[in-house]
C-alpha cells in the first residue's frame, strides 16, 4: 500500500490524477508545497510507509507544531541507501514535500536534508554509480 503515482504526462497530471498502486493525489495536494525545518521527535520505520515526526517552531510566535511526514516504505528507502538508524530523535532536518489533504500537520517528503551535515538523504544509491 505504498503511494505510487505514475505521471505519464507532464503538466496535465497536475490536474488529472492517474492510478497507481494507490493514490498520492487522494492524500496529498501537489499544488501546496511545504518546506519544514525542525527537530525530529520520533521515527516510525514501518510498512507501508515510514514516518518522521518533526517539531517545527513558528519563527514569529514561537509556537511549536509537531508535523507528521510520510515517506516511502522501509524497503524503498533502504534501496536508496537509508538505514533505520540514519535519522534519530533530536536531529535537525529540512523537509520539502506536499501538504496533506485531511490533516493540517501532515505532509510527504520529496527530500530530507540533515541540517548538521547538509546531506540529502535517499539520493546516495543512484549517485553512487557515478
Amino acid at each position: 500500500m505504498r503511494t505510487y503515482l505514475f505521471v505519464a504526462c507532464a503538466i496535465a497530471c497536475l490536474t488529472t490524477p492517474v492510478a497507481a498502486h494507490h493514490s498520492f493525489a487522494a492524500e496529498f495536494d501537489i499544488t501546496k508545497p511545504v518546506t519544514l525545518t525542525g527537530k525530529v521527535t520520533k521515527i516510525e520505520w514501518t510498512n507501508p510507509h515510514a514516518y518522521l515526526f518533526v517539531d517545527v517552531t513558528d519563527a514569529q510566535t514561537g509556537a511549536v507544531t509537531n508535523w507528521e511526514i510520510e515517506m516511502g516504505s522501509p524497503n524503498g528507502l533502504t534501496r536508496l541507501g537509508w538505514t533505520r538508524n540514519m535519522v534519530k530523535a533530536g536531529d535537525m532536518v529540512t523537509i520539502e514535500g506536499s501538504l496533506g489533504r485531511n490533516k493540517p500537520t501532515l505532509a510527504n517528503a520529496r527530500s530530507v536534508v540533515m541540517t548538521a551535515t547538509g546531506k540529502k538523504l535517499g539520493a546516495a544509491s543512484s549517485e553512487a554509480t557515478q
Partner: protein, 335 residues
C-alpha cells in the same frame, strides 16, 4: 553556434571538422537528479520521414547517433519504472556537419516522493553488464527464475472502454483514485505491470511469482492441469502455463471483479476478465513480457502491453506487511 530550449534540455551545436557531409550527429547524456542513467533508450524521430532511430546510454549515461539526415527531430525517452516520467523534446535541429548535444534531465516520477520509486534507478544501475545465455531447466525449457525489475510498456496504446467503464473511470479520476483496493491493503492489480521487483521461482511443473504487495505470491501451474470449473472467483485468478517453443504462455481466468487493472491506469473489469501473458528470456539479463487483457464486457477491444524486464541479481524481494501501520484511510479522508 549555441541555442537554448526552455525546460531541462539545452542544445549546443558545434561545427564539426567534416562540414562537407549532409549528415549530422546527435549526442548527449541522460541524467536523473544528479546521476547519470545507463542503459536508457533514447528515441529520435525525424519529423519529415517519421523514421525512428534509437540509441542506448552507456555506463556514463552518454548516447550518440551519427549519420542523421539533416532535419528536425523529436526526442523521446520512455518512462523508467516509477522513477522517471516520459521525456519529450520537440524541434531539435540536426544540421549537416554538426553535432547537436542534448543534456537530458529526466523528470522524477511519482512526484518524487522519497522512497516511493522503490529504488528503481538504483536497482537499474546495479544490474548492468549482465551477459550470457538464458539458463534452462532440466526439461530443456528456458528457466525464468530470478529477481526481475519490472518496467512499463514504453508505448502503451490507451485502453478503449465501453460506456459503463468510461463512467467508472470518470468517477475514479474525480475522486483522485481514492478508493483503490491497495489503500485498504487489498490486492490491487493481478496484472504484472506495477514496476517493482518480482521474483520468479521456476520448476518444471510450477512457476511461483513473489512480490512485495498483496497477496505477495502467485502460482502458475505448468503440470498440464486446466482451470477448475465453477471455482470461487479470486483476486489473482487461476493460472496455468504451457510452452510454445521457448515462450511460456500463461492463461489466467477466474478473477473477481474487485481489482483495478494495469498500473497507472486503474481500469475496472468484470469477472469475465481473461489474461494471457507470454514470457520469453532471450538472454540471461532480460525477460520479454507480452500481456493481453480481454474482457468483452468492459473493453471495446483487448488491451496489449509489451514490456522488457531487467534481471536484478543483487536485489531480492523483502517482507512488507501493509497492515502494520496503514494510515491511508485517515490521510485520504475515508470514513
Amino acid at each position: 553556434m549555441r541555442s537554448a530550449i526552455a525546460g531541462s534540455l539545452v542544445v549546443f551545436a558545434a561545427v564539426a571538422a567534416f562540414a562537407q557531409t549532409s549528415r549530422g550527429t546527435l549526442a548527449g547524456t541522460v541524467r536523473l537528479r544528479d546521476a547519470a542513467v545507463p542503459a536508457v533508450t533514447v528515441e529520435v524521430k525525424n519529423t519529415s520521414t517519421n523514421a525512428v532511430l534509437t540509441a542506448t546510454s552507456d555506463k556514463s549515461g552518454r548516447f550518440k547517433l551519427t549519420d542523421l539526415p539533416e532535419g528536425v527531430y523529436e526526442i523521446t525517452v520512455p518512462p523508467l519504472g516509477i522513477a522517471a516520467d516520459r521525456f519529450d523534446q520537440k524541434d531539435v535541429a540536426i544540421k549537416a556537419g554538426q553535432t547537436t548535444t542534448l543534456e537530458i534531465t529526466l523528470k522524477q516520477g511519482n512526484l518524487g516522493v522519497l522512497g516511493d520509486d522503490n529504488g528503481y534507478i538504483a536497482i537499474h544501475n546495479n544490474s548492468q553488464d549482465i551477459r550470457g545465455p538464458a539458463p534452462r531447466t532440466r526439461d530443456g525449457h528456458p528457466d525464468l527464475s530470478g529477481v526481475w525489475n519490472i518496467n512499463v510498456d514504453p508505448h502503451p496504446v490507451p485502453a478503449s472502454l465501453l460506456p459503463w467503464a468510461q463512467g467508472v473511470m470518470k468517477e475514479r479520476v474525480e475522486t483522485n483514485f481514492r478508493d483503490q483496493p491497495a489503500g485498504l491493503c487489498l490486492p490491487d492489480d493481478p496484472t504484472p505491470t506495477l514496476p517493482l521487483l518480482r521474483k520468479f521461482v521456476h520448476t518444471p511443473k510450477l512457476l511461483v511469482q513473489l512480490f512485495e504487495q498483496e497477496p505477495h505470491y502467485r502460482q502458475i501451474f505448468l503440470d498440464g492441469r486446466e482451470h477448475p470449473n465453477d471455482a470461487d472467483p479470486t483476486w489473482m485468478g487461476h493460472s496455468v502455463g504451457r510452452w510454445e517453443k521457448d515462450t511460456l504462455i500463461v492463461d489466467t481466468a477466474g478473477f473477481n471483479d474487485r481489482s483495478w487493472v494495469l498500473f497507472a491506469e486503474g481500469l475496472p473489469h468484470t469477472d469475465k476478465l481473461h489474461m494471457i501473458e507470454r514470457y520469453r528470456r532471450p538472454d540471461l539479463g532480460h525477460l520479454l513480457v507480452d500481456l493481453t487483457l480481454d474482457d468483452s464486457a468492459t473493453f471495446a477491444r483487448p488491451i496489449e502491453r509489451h514490456m522488457t524486464w531487467q534481471l536484478a541479481p543483487k536485489d531480492d524481494v523483502l517482507e512488507s506487511i501493509c497492515t502494520e501501520n496503514n494510515k491511508y484511510q485517515r490521510n485520504a479522508g475515508i470514513k
